[in-house]
Symmetry: C2
Subunit: 367 residues, 2 copies
């Protein structure tokens, strides 16, 4: 059971490899890459406790010189200060242009390690070993790296593609259930905007609300098809010129909800799930999508144990106001990604505030 997906870019194409036990088998991958001898593994305490030792062993067995840097866990540590700790380690280990950072962790570790690699000596190698479902199917692929500014998420960053993405599904067994479901929101997203086939596989699964209910075959398929979707989109639009915007499906209203609930009550995946439900309703109202498919989407969200209703204490007006202040807004027009059928979506800025209001309200009442 090994899937290999290529992210095709003008320069520096790379592989995403997915298989159980890959962490222990990283050696042959490392040896096949044109990288130097020095490696630093970046991780956080908890994840390193679980998987650090085997990774380090496997790297050493392949005759690379390896050290590691442990950073504190959590989004609030996704800062330049943490990146500076990676820099210090890079200096201490005399990293060269050909050296490599390996990110072992969720999207937070991945984004920071990627940014450090983008900016140390004006760019060294990075390999992503995502350990959360969200990082596997989303954050680790596509070369977006960065950290937060005290006043805004991901404001500081760079595009820097990894040399390899290595996914070992077995690490998901220690991922908290809520984090698993958060990742599933992005998986459902790929089903709706890109892959009818993925969507149907999800529909035919008995249960999706906890990793334990997924067969290893289904998990492998979900990962493969989701990564393929992201790889396809990134290959066609490396630097966010156009197509890549469809990856924001569910994220427009999703971001507003995250922001209005202080990034605590509702996590990213939950917000995206709610956002997809709202966007689905908008698509139906505007005649882009069928009512029936929109309901199939909402069913899938529910089956995954994700919410699809807008928290009742949020005011529609506040959501609209927040949408307008989003950094992706151009000339005051809010852009929405809307499904056309399961497996295809389009981007539009023609959605009137009234329609958004109606859709949000329906998603609040349907509780």
């Amino acid at each position: 059971m090994l899937s290999e997906i290529t992210v095709n870019l003008e320069t520096n194409s790379y592989q995403i490899a997915i298989a159980p036990q890959l962490i222990n088998n990283i050696g042959s991958y490392l040896q096949s890459l044109p990288i130097g001898n020095k490696i630093i593994v970046v991780s956080n305490t908890m994840i390193f406790d679980h998987y650090g030792e085997s990774l380090i062993k496997a790297i050493e067995k392949a005759n690379f010189s390896v050290s590691y840097k442990i950073l504190p866990d959590g989004e609030r540590h996704k800062t330049l200060l943490s990146v500076q700790k990676i820099y210090d380690q890079a200096l201490e280990n005399y990293l060269e242009r050909s050296s490599t950072l390996i990110a072992l962790g969720g999207g937070v570790i991945g984004d920071m390690t990627g940014f450090a690699a983008a900016t140390w000596l004006r760019g060294i190698n990075v390999i992503q070993i995502p350990t959360s479902l969200l990082a596997m199917v989303d954050a680790a692929i596509g070369g977006k790296t960065g950290v937060n500014h005290p006043q805004g998420k991901n404001l500081i960053g760079a595009f820097h593609q990894p040399k390899l993405v290595l996914i070992d599904p077995e690490v998901l067994k220690t991922l908290p259930h809520r984090e698993f479901r958060a990742g599933m929101a992005e998986v459902i997203k790929y089903g709706v905007i890109w892959s009818d086939d993925l969507f149907q596989q999800l529909e035919s699964a008995q249960r999706l609300d906890q990793l334990d209910y997924l067969s290893s075959d289904l998990l492998q398929n979900i990962l493969t098809q989701s990564c393929q979707a992201k790889a396809d989109v990134v290959s066609q639009d490396e630097k966010e010129g156009g197509l890549r915007a469809i990856l924001n499906y569910g994220h427009t209203v999703g971001h507003a909800i995250e922001s209005l609930t202080g990034y605590r009550l509702v996590n990213h995946g939950e917000a995206v799930a709610i956002g997809m439900s709202v966007a689905g309703k908008i698509a139906v109202k505007m005649g882009y999508w069928s009512e029936q498919e929109s309901q199939r989407q909402d069913q899938l969200i529910l089956k995954t144990g994700l919410p699809k209703t807008v928290p009742p204490m949020l005011k529609v007006e506040d959501i609209l106001e927040t949408l307008k202040s989003d950094k992706k807004v151009k000339n005051g027009k809010v852009r929405f990604v809307l499904p056309q059928k399961i497996g295809a979506a389009t981007v539009t800025d023609e959605v009137s505030p009234e329609i958004v209001k109606e859709a949000v309200k329906e998603c609040q009442e349907s509780t």
Copy 2:
């Protein structure tokens, strides 16, 4: 008197414009670029005092919305901390992807502003308005940006090409003489490694040790040919794969001298001048270059008021030791750029420590 030079790159080629009064005439340049309405000018107190007001006025006249950020002067402020101040200003002014930073200053301001632009929102526009001779002919061109790590120069950085380089030679009138001469070291470098014609123009000048002795025609020519040389090299090797290495002529021994004298006693340009003299001698010893041309080079260095002798208190052994620890050393072999004739140079790692020793000693005794 306007020179326009193109830096030809696969994507994002750009112009270097050189003419007196360009700062006051920036408006039409700005209007011809595909950039958004928001601009932040980054500078330091002294330079902004001299030229800030006219620049801001000219930008406003062209109907852009402009603000500015003043950073402290000096290499020791070339840090992430200063870059964070630029980020804060960017946030305060709601910069967008299409917004622009303008660097008004020497290489320090240019490198920091470039790095901030490379990393804010994963890359916004930057325009370079270099005000030191060194920044005009070197730092502002080629897309290298970055800051220092407490333990090493330029360790943190990114490649990020400017959208425009605007050179107004008139600002050089306030540049300290010693800084002028430092820039002249790079000019001589271009003569030796790239442009026979530039070299001969320098030779025919009466005096070169102070700006006041240069006619505005000669100055315009020196700037144009130096920028052309850098643009040629960068166009052929944007990311330092090969050719770009020749720009390090004089910098191998130069860096060692800077580092051993604590970056104080000998400034960068002076160190490069000494380094060129040493490299010239090595080239002669190895049969790459004629004794006679090497002497012409040394004459030119002297005429510019730059030193060509290694400070007597430096030990040859320490210089050799420092060379070996240079970050550009591969497998313990020190790479040297050596002239073959005036206007052409090559890179080699075949120089034996004995030859380096001899050359350094000669350059110490010739005091």
